[in-house]
């Protein structure tokens, strides 16, 4: 028997000017989620059930970039993705391109437990969600006013954001080609090989 342990995260790359009350909100949500996990672990719930339980809680709260409060695509829509892995026997499940599933991590769990595959995406994943009867919402449910504003800023800066940075416009020459599109303040060509 070992002692249990739990860690949660709400994303990396934080705006250094994040207002104190937003920082406090984030800490309260993280503490709330830790306590949900701790209570479950004290009741001998298995690790894979605990990670699903905690991530569901984080997806439902719009504060972080997942589920409700997800980042928006260039079209202003939400496309969510998730995965789960059980260290025992290294079983795993993953989903991508979800537009209506309220808790993507639970659909990933169903892919692991109830399908012969380990990854389903886009229309196949949405079809599987209906077969499994998981809770679904209109795409609008996942879109928050904050993120609509962030998307507008990102478009004005013609960049893709993984965090708060809105790089100044101004294009660097690189790889012999002018690359207007930037990702995280770097010319997209840095990622071009990928």
């Amino acid at each position: 028997m070992v002692g249990w342990a739990i860690a949660v995260h709400g994303g990396a790359g934080v705006d250094p000017n994040l207002p104190p009350q937003r920082q406090e909100q984030a800490k309260q949500l993280l503490t709330h989620c830790l306590n949900i996990g701790i209570t479950a672990l004290r009741s001998n719930v298995s690790a894979v059930d605990v990670v699903e339980l905690v991530v569901r809680e984080l997806e439902t709260n719009p504060l972080f970039n997942s589920g409700r409060g997800s980042a928006l695509t260039a079209k202003g829509t939400v496309e969510m993705e998730a995965s789960i892995m059980d260290g025992t026997k290294r079983r795993c499940g993953a989903v991508s391109g979800l537009t209506t599933v309220k808790n993507p991590v639970s659909l990933a769990r169903l892919v692991m437990d109830k399908s012969p595959h380990s990854y389903l995406a886009f229309s196949g994943a949405e079809e599987f969600a209906r077969q499994q009867g998981v809770e679904v919402e209109e795409n609008e449910y996942f879109i928050t006013p904050d993120n609509v504003g962030m998307l507008k800023l990102a478009k004005e800066a013609n960049t893709i954001l993984f965090d708060y940075r809105i790089p100044t416009t101004g294009y660097e020459k690189c790889a012999g080609a002018e690359s207007p599109l930037q990702m995280n303040g770097l010319p997209i060509s840095v990622y071009a090989p990928e």
Binding site: M1, V2, G3, W4, I6, A7, V8, H9, G10, G11, A12, G13, V14, P16, Q23, A26, K27, T31, L34, L41, S46, A47, V50, V51, V55, L58, E59, F64, N65, G67, S70, A71, L72, T73, A74, K75, V78, E79, M80, E81, A82, S83, I84, M85, D86, G87, T88, R90, C92, A94, V105, A108, F122, L151, A154, I160, L161, F162, N184, E194
Partner: protein, 131 residues
């Protein structure tokens, strides 16, 4: 992106990650979070969940790297986390949380802050954003 890594009192590890991806991303873009071995990984030894620049995490197979350096270099959990954050990300910026089958918890990041919280059975509990 959000994530959770857990080891239960029977030493079983698990991890899960969920995200909306990048703001202003192209439709159809897949990030690291759903990719087993990149954004999420769990085995007998540890459980890991990553966040940050998805393209860098994918190229680094970051989550699996933590387990790999524990298995093949014999590093402890925090040393393994520090090693992969330092040596596997190239110019990419990312963060990760991890637990081990010994009941340890660890995290690391090379970008500006990471929303994280961790707790262990002996009463340790920490919630933080900055260094």
């Amino acid at each position: 992106t959000v994530g959770c890594a857990v080891v239960d009192s029977e030493g079983r590890c698990a991890a899960a990650t969920s995200t909306g991806g990048l703001m202003n991303k192209m439709s159809g873009r897949i990030g690291d979070s759903p990719l087993i071995g990149a954004g999420t990984y769990a085995c007998e030894v540890c459980g890991v969940s990553c966040t940050g620049e998805g393209e860098a995490i994918i190229r680094a197979t970051l989550a699996r790297e933590v387990a790999a350096v524990m298995e093949y270099k014999g590093l402890g959990l925090q040393d393994a986390v520090d090693y992969v954050i330092k040596h596997r990300l190239d110019e990419g910026q990312a963060g990760l949380i991890a637990v081990s089958n010994k009941g340890e918890v660890a995290y690391g990041f090379n970008c500006n802050g990471m929303f994280r919280g961790c707790a262990t059975q002996d009463g340790f509990m920490e919630v933080g954003i900055w260094e």
